[in-house]
Each structure stands twice: as C-alpha cells, then as structure tokens.
C-alpha cells in the first residue's frame, strides 16, 4: 500500500481571477475511497478535473503511482472518470460505448466483445448491449458510464457527482451499489459530492473543502466527532457552537469559561494557552436533558428553559434557551414507551448535561 495519488501544492486560477484551487496538497492511498466534499464553487470538481487532466494547474504537481503526470494530457493518464452527465456517446450502442476505450487501445474485436459482455454482466446490463443510450433509464445510463470507465482497469476511478442526476430512491440504492463495487474491484475511488450523507455513507475518508482549500480531512467518524472548524461542524450534520475562553489546561482535559459556567472538555491534542478564545461544538444527540433538580456530577451542566420542541417521530429536537443567551439544541431519542405528551413543554426550566468527551474544541477562528 502506498500513495496512488499525490497532489502537491496544487493551485488553479480561472480567467477573471477566481482562485478555484488554492494550495491543495493531498495523499490518496491505493484502494481508498476518498470523497471531496464541499458546497458548489469550493474547488472540489476542479481538483478532480485536474487529476483527470482536463484542467492544468497553474502551480503544483500531480503524481499518479509515483509518476509526475502534471504535464500529461488526459489520454495518457491511467485514470478514468464517471461524468456528472454520464457523457455517453449518443451515436453508439451501449456495447460500443463500453468498448470504446478498448477499441482506442487497439484491442482485437473478438476480445473487446468478450470483455464488454463480461463487464455488462457484472452490472446486470447484458441484455441491453444493443440499446442506444437514449433508450435507457437514468440508473441504467449510470451503470453504462461506470462500466465504460472501469473496463480499462484504471489505477484510479474518478466520480464527479455520480448520483446527483438520479432520483432519491435510486440514489440510495446506488450508494450501496457503488460501495460494493469499490470493495469488489479494490480500485481507488475519488468522488466529488456536495451531499454530506453521501460522503459519510460511502467513503473511507472525506476531504472537506472550503473556498479552494482543504478545510479538514479524515474518516467520516473523525469529521463528525471532531470537526476542526465551525465550517466543518456546520457542513457535516448539525452542531451547537459555543464560544468561550480557556481557563485552565490540564494533561487530560481543559476547563473553559463559558459565561458564568466552567465547562470541561477532553483534550484533543491541540495546545491552548490560558485565556485563548475557543470554540466548542456539541452534537445535539450527544447532550441530555435533566429535568427539575436532577444533577450529574461528571457532566457539564448548562441551565436554561425549553423553547421549541420539534417532534420527528423517532426523535424530538428540543431547543433550550441558555442562561448565557445562546440557544442549544438537544435531540431526544424517543423510546417506544414515550408519548408525545411526555415531551418538554415550552418555558420549563431544564438542565442540559454534556459529557466532557462529547465537547469538541478548536481555536476560535473568529477571534483570531
């Protein structure tokens, strides 16, 4: 196992001065399923297109399996791409589309036919080889695009928003199918998406991008539990963001002044000096509500009153107006014995309890 793709300080500015990719360095391991996640315009697609060779970077270099391919045209790179609009050739049948790359490579016809048949078998499309692309459904077209891209056995498969053109049900099924395909083929997948659920469900590693830069890179669980900025915390899932100052920093945990309260958080490796402005993010489902005078010695306690209660069926989201003035969301999982009448009522005094392990901290970028 080694790096199959290495991006070294990649930079790309478009005419008009828009910096699409700003100093991006990235190592992708062989066999990894990596997702570039971010809103539109964050540069994720440009990074992908640079790897494919459709855009040439202004600065920086790209290595594929150790070879510098920065100057190579797309047709000399051992990568294949699944396009957002699939880009099937409308004047060719499904089989001709799938076999195109082999035909270009000069493979004998009989061998191409054989390989195409096997590949179409793999995606259960063997009976549709003679169809024209416009006769296929969206999901079928996508499978053809996938098959066409993997038949050349590339070192890396690039996927540009592969599921965005499908309807919701199909999208969910294809998530699983793509994931299985990745496991079966053992190829390196690099996918671009703006859909955080897609990124969390499908990838081994997620690279969150913001304005042309890598905001954070990590496994889905790392990103979810330990976001390193408010941007990542709010882009992936929902978070309560509280701002405070470091009061004391111990070996295992740190104490933070938040309003009149002292909150404890487990250290996550970052070094803070006393008095540093700090951000705390807490996931709504990792906080608890304590009714009345109940207490919990180990947890951080925040007093407030119940604001809104939103019933979601299997859970309920309660917003608590804290004494500090912030609003805090708490998700309550509802056991099967719960009735809707058991939910907290507006105006009730409650205490929010959060274990120090569930308080994620990072230096407050707004105070810098």
């Amino acid at each position: 196992m080694g790096s199959i793709i290495q991006l070294d300080r990649l930079r790309k500015t478009f005419p008009g001065g828009v910096v699409a990719v700003d100093d991006v360095s990235l190592d992708i391991e062989e066999g990894e399923y990596v997702t570039l996640l971010g809103p539109s315009g964050c540069g994720k697609t440009t990074v992908l297109r640079t790897v494919a060779g459709f855009e040439s970077p202004d600065a920086g270099s790209i290595y594929l399996a150790g070879q510098n391919v920065t100057e190579l045209p797309p047709y000399r790179r051992q990568v294949n791409m699944v396009f957002q609009d699939y880009a099937l050739f409308p004047h060719m049948t499904v089989s001709q589309n799938v076999g195109y790359g082999l035909r270009i490579a000069g493979m004998p016809k009989a061998e191409i036919a054989d390989k195409v048949r096997k590949a179409l078998d793999l995606v259960e499309m063997s009976d549709k080889g003679e169809r024209q692309p416009h006769e296929l459904s969206g999901g079928e077209r996508q499978r053809v695009a996938l098959t066409r891209a993997i038949i050349r056995e590339p070192q890396v498969l690039l996927l540009d928003e592969p599921l965005s053109a499908l309807d919701a049900n199909l999208r969910e099924a294809m998530r699983v199918e793509l994931r299985h395909l990745h496991q079966r083929l053992g190829l390196t997948f690099v996918m671009v998406t703006h859909d955080q659920t897609e990124a969390l469900v499908m990838s081994d590693r997620v690279v969150v991008m913001e304005a042309g830069r890598v905001a954070q890179s990590g496994t889905p669980a790392e990103l979810y539990d330990h976001p390193s900025s408010t941007y990542v915390a709010s882009f992936i899932g929902t978070s309560n963001v509280l701002r405070g100052h470091v009061a004391a920093s111990g070996a295992k945990d740190i104490t933070i002044n938040y309003g009149a309260d002292h909150l404890k958080a487990v250290r996550n490796g970052a070094a803070y000096a006393d008095g540093d402005a700090i951000c705390m993010t807490i996931r709504p489902e990792k906080a608890r509500l304590l009714a009345g005078k109940k207490s919990d010695a180990k947890a951080n306690l925040l007093k407030g009153t119940v604001g809104e209660t939103l019933f979601h069926g299997n859970s309920a989201r309660v917003t608590v107006d804290l004494a500090s003035g912030d609003t805090f969301m708490v998700d309550l999982m509802l056991p099967n014995t719960a009735a809707q009448s058991d939910l907290p009522v507006r105006g009730t005094a409650v205490t929010v309890a959060v274990d120090p392990a569930n308080v994620n901290t990072f230096a407050d970028e707004a105070a810098r």
């Binding site: 045209p73 990568v79 880009a87 050739f89 409308p90 004047h91 195109y100 270009i104 490579a105």
Partner: protein, 281 residues
C-alpha cells in the same frame, strides 16, 4: 397534463351556448386566416406548376388541355441545359468552399477564447442582413481592383462568402448543443484529439453539416443579385430565366420552374430533417 385536462373539462361544462358559438366562430376565423396565408404563399407556385402542363402558349385561363411538350422543349434547349449545368457547378463548389472555411470558423467560435471574439461572430453573421446587391457590388469592386476576370469561379467565391453566415451559424449552434463532457470522456478513455474528432465529434455534427450543405446548395442555386454582378459570359439558371423573361413568360420557363421547385423541396425537406434530429439525452 391530466390536471390541465380536468380544468378544461370543468370550465367546459360551464360554457353557455353563446360562448360555444363564439368559440367555434373564433376557430373558424383562424382556419380561414391560415388558409389565406397558405394561399398567399403557394397560389403563385400552384399557378406556375399548373401552367407548365397547360396546352397553350399564352398564360391565360381557361386551361386548354394537358401536355408534356414544355418539358420536352426544356430537355432540348441546350442554352437552358448549359445554364442548369453551370448552376449545379456553382452551387456545388460554393457549398464546398463555404464548408471548408465555415466549419473551422464555427469550431474557433465554440472552442477558443480570443480577444474580439464577439466582434468576430457579429461580423461573420453580418452578411445575412446585408442585401445581396451590396455583397455583389463590393466583391465586383474587389475583383476589378485585383484584376481578376469575372467568371463562374468569381460567382462561386461570391456565393461562398454570402453563405458563410448560414454555415457558421448552423454548425456553431450544433457545437453549442454538444456537451463538452462527451469529448472529455473520449479523451479520458485514451483517445487522442484526432481520434476524438473522428470517432465522437464528427459523427455528432455530421447531420448538421449535411443539412447545412443542402440548404446552402438550394440558396446558391436560386441566387440572382450576387451572381448578377459577378458572372462573366456564362449564365446560371436563374440568370438565364431572368434574361429570357424579358421576351415574356413562356410555358417552358414554367416547366423549369416546376422542376426546380421539386428538387428544392426535396433538398429542403432532407436538410430540415437532418438539422432537427431528435434530441438524444
């Protein structure tokens, strides 16, 4: 769709008798109007076709009988046949020249970004709005200054220039509808730019090219103003017809006219069919 139909059904049931009559009357008026427009467009052509088969030298009603004599006369008229030959020659080469210049121009407009691109596009399209007389006179002046003798070849250049606007517009429009990702996919699958052009781009714009060529052929075949200024001693068919008209309309001319209409119609139908290929998405 179903919802719209339902609304129609509901409102339909509430129509009074008077409403229905006026509605019928309204659509009757529209049908009459449409018929008038069609008659306005096609009555002259119908007259030409009918009289080409009429058994009389004069173009007056009533019709006297059916004959194919005028078509026989056309077949034996060497001047006329010469003119037809010249027209085919001019149209064919005008189309070839305009395609050779127009296709790369359309690609440049679609693919390249260069300073003054908008101006370039406007200037290419301008000859569409320019009267043929102007194109004719200006090219005549140019050829005179350059000391080039007028001939069918100068007519070809004139036609090719006038047709360039059509060619570039049509092919540019097709290229714009061609998703760029298709060519990228081809490159991604290992095809070099030449392979991509022949295996992916060309097959997708082929219909547009053939359709444009047919339209241009028809336009060139009928062209008079530019031809008038640029031809030497040889005559194209429209010029020949025009010159014989000075001695009055003969049924022979009607016969030629009918033949031209027939051929034009076939070419136009084919080209329209090719240019409006069903959108494959």
């Amino acid at each position: 769709m179903a919802v719209v139909e339902n609304i129609d059904a509901v409102s339909g049931s509430k129509l009074t008798l008077a409403d229905r009559i006026s509605e019928r009357g309204g659509s009757g008026f529209l049908v009459t109007l449409a018929c008038c427009v069609l008659a306005f467009l096609y009555l002259p052509i119908a007259v030409l076709v009918v009289f080409s088969f009429n058994d009389s030298r004069t173009l007056t009603l009533p019709l006297t009988g059916f004959t194919l004599d005028w078509y026989e006369k056309v077949a034996n008229n060497t001047d006329l046949l010469n003119a037809i030959g010249n027209s085919i020659y001019v149209a064919t080469f005008a189309v070839l020249v305009t395609l050779v210049i127009g296709i790369p121009a359309a690609f440049a407009l679609d693919r390249l970004n260069f300073p003054g691109k908008t101006v370039f596009r406007r200037m290419i399209l301008m000859p569409i709005a320019l009267p043929g007389v102007i194109t004719g006179i200006s090219m005549l002046n140019l050829f005179r200054i350059m000391g080039i003798n007028l001939s069918l070849e100068t007519v070809i250049l004139g036609h090719a220039t006038a047709l360039l606007a059509v060619t570039v517009t049509q092919i540019f429009a097709r290229l714009q509808r061609l998703p760029r990702s298709m060519e990228e996919a081809s490159a991604d699958l290992g095809a070099n730019p030449i392979q991509t052009f022949f295996f992916v781009t060309l097959p997708n714009i082929k219909a547009a090219i053939v359709g444009t060529a047919l339209i241009c052929f028809t336009l060139s075949f009928d062209e008079i103003p530019v031809t008038f200024f640029l031809t030497g001693r040889e005559n194209t068919l429209p010029m020949y017809i025009w010159s014989t008209l000075r001695r009055g309309i003969t049924p022979e001319i009607n016969a030629v006219g009918t033949l031209i209409i027939l051929v034009s119609l076939v070419l136009i139908v084919i080209s329209v069919w090719l240019l409006h290929e069903p959108e494959r998405k």
